[in-house]
């Protein structure tokens, strides 16, 4: 019996420790911010954080996955998406503060620098391996928006060439740089930061979707003040400059 009681005591202590250790230590001032951001911001955000002297930890992935994590209660301070829809949805659900549009981007056709592909029409050629995004990740839904506007005779053969639907835009870029695919729909900023290997083909104006990036402070943030200054800073001169260098544009009227 003694042994059993002792075991129980140790078990209880261990569990207490586990619970205790998990709860403490997180919300201290001076901890880096946790920023969940669209994969397309992989180059822009660390540069921005550095130039504005903010310490942040970044998690880059498809915006839809990051939003799902926040819905599941992930301890995130700031969320930046490659559209304004996801931040608006989270705002409507009461999970985040009011969204701010901080940048725009454009959807382009990315091809390896030495590719013979020159136009949207070339993507319809048989044998072209085309990569796009899933339905839910922003770059995938922008691509669908573009394809939906094309005449059927062009849309159908292009759709038939889609060989993979990636969960974030950087994975699509990877398929290109590794030589697995011939072309991918990505953002112009993705090509800008890989200009040594990739070339962007602009879409005709009538097929170009509006790509606006929304950012929000997550309500559960342990450091609302820093989170808010991170968001505000994105539209300051420092933020604008870091974003512009990484291939983004300022929102209209901003």
């Amino acid at each position: 019996m003694k042994a059993v009681r002792a075991s129980a005591a140790v078990l209880a202590l261990t569990l207490l420790c586990l619970v205790g250790c998990g709860a403490s230590g997180s919300d201290e001032v001076g901890d880096p911010l946790t920023v969940s951001a669209a994969a397309s911001l992989t180059d822009a955000f660390p540069a921005y954080a550095e130039s504005s002297n903010m310490s942040a930890r970044f998690s880059f992935a498809g915006s839809d996955e990051l939003a799902a994590q926040i819905r599941q209660g992930a301890p995130v301070d700031v969320f930046a998406a490659a559209n304004s829809q996801l931040p608006d949805d989270l705002y409507a659900e009461g999970l985040v503060e009011r969204p701010v549009v901080f940048a725009t981007n454009s959807l382009v056709i990315a091809v390896p620098s030495d590719s013979e592909i020159q136009s949207l029409e070339d993507l319809a050629e048989p044998g072209i391996d085309l990569v796009t995004g899933t339905e839910d990740v922003p770059f995938g839904s922008y691509t669908r928006e573009t394809l939906d506007r094309l005449p059927t005779a062009l849309r159908e053969p292009i759709l038939a060439n889609v060989r993979s639907e990636e969960s974030d835009v950087k994975a699509a870029v990877g398929k290109l740089t590794q030589g697995a695919a011939d072309a991918a729909f990505t953002y112009s900023s993705d090509v800008a930061v890989a200009a040594d290997r990739l070339r962007a083909i602009r879409l005709p104006k009538e097929y170009r979707p509006d790509v606006a990036y929304g950012v929000v402070v997550v309500k559960g943030s342990g450091d609302l003040e820093s989170a808010r200054s991170f968001v505000v800073g994105l539209t300051s001169a420092t933020g604008r400059s870091a974003l512009r260098i990484a291939g983004f544009k300022a929102p209209p009227g901003g």
């Binding site: 075991s7 060989r163 993979s164 639907e165 990636e166 398929k175 695919a181």
Partner: protein
């Protein structure tokens, strides 16, 4: 077991924490959404398609692994030669290789721009973005799980059995087929199960090497990640199926290996 009660308490506590840590997430999958919603999400066409593709590709990969892995493991188990340790290490490497690295390595070897890319292309073989590419990725990551187990199963065979077979005039091929394979059956089966489990859960190498496209390359784990962002219930439902499949594979491996083992003891 009259050890000090304190030490025993520590052992029990360690086991309890381990058990809680390892089982809680799995249990949570089934608690998270009501069973009715779980079943409804599974009725969706895309989910069924992903599960079917997972079944087809893992079975194809297993057949390849068994066909090449069994004789290879027999050779490694029965011969001692220079460089054998290096060879075994190379074969085991995918065990510890990060799956994304495996995918990039496969691209560098078998992708369109890879070292064998030109050869495959001239033979008209395409792997990237094809179901065949998924099978290649699964075979790559799961092989060592089977080969390791098979090798130790062959090594564990009572050498007098093999000697007797040879003394009675059987050649190596006959000894391998008639004596070694049945005697090592338990180990081979559990190796098969382990490899199957690994292949069923494969994610990173498949995504990087073969891509993700419904019905062609999107296996169940890839479908789960795709759904995670949009349809959490569906992601959980598919996860639940994989958990059940994993449990069934593990249990049947344990059951088969023990019952086969007992049968063998009875005969000898």
């Amino acid at each position: 077991m009259n050890g000090s009660p304190w030490f025993r308490a520590v052992l029990v506590a360690a086991l309890a924490v381990t058990l809680l840590f390892l089982t809680l997430p799995v249990v949570a999958i089934f608690v998270d959404i009501p069973p009715a919603d779980l079943l409804a999400s599974l009725g969706e066409e895309g989910a069924v398609e992903a599960l079917k593709l997972s079944l087809q590709t893992t079975v194809a990969a297993l057949l390849i692994i068994l066909a090449f892995g069994t004789p290879a493991a027999w050779l490694l188990a029965t011969r001692r030669f220079r460089g054998r340790t290096v060879l075994v290490t190379l074969i085991e490497l995918p065990l510890v290789l990060p799956p994304a690295v495996a995918g990039i390595a496969l691209l560098a070897a078998l992708g369109p721009g890879g070292i064998l890319g030109g050869l495959l292309d001239s033979l008209g073989i395409r792997l990237v973005f094809e179901t065949a590419g998924v099978v290649v990725a699964l075979t790559f990551v799961a092989s060592p799980f089977y080969i390791r187990q098979a090798q130790s199963a062959f090594e564990a065979i009572d050498p007098t059995l093999l000697q007797a077979s040879r003394t009675l005039g059987a050649g190596e091929a006959r000894t391998f087929g008639r004596i070694a394979l049945p005697a090592a059956r338990a180990g081979l089966l559990s190796g098969t199960a382990l490899a199957w489990g690994r292949a069923l859960g494969e994610f990173g190498a498949t995504l990087v090497f073969a891509g993700s496209f419904r019905g062609i390359t999107q296996t169940a784990p890839l479908a789960i990640v795709e759904r995670f962002g949009s349809d959490f219930n569906s992601a959980i439902a598919l996860s639940a199926v994989l958990v059940v499949a994993s449990i069934v594979i593990l249990l049947s491996a344990k059951y088969l290996s023990t019952s086969v083992g007992r049968g063998r003891d009875a005969r000898i």
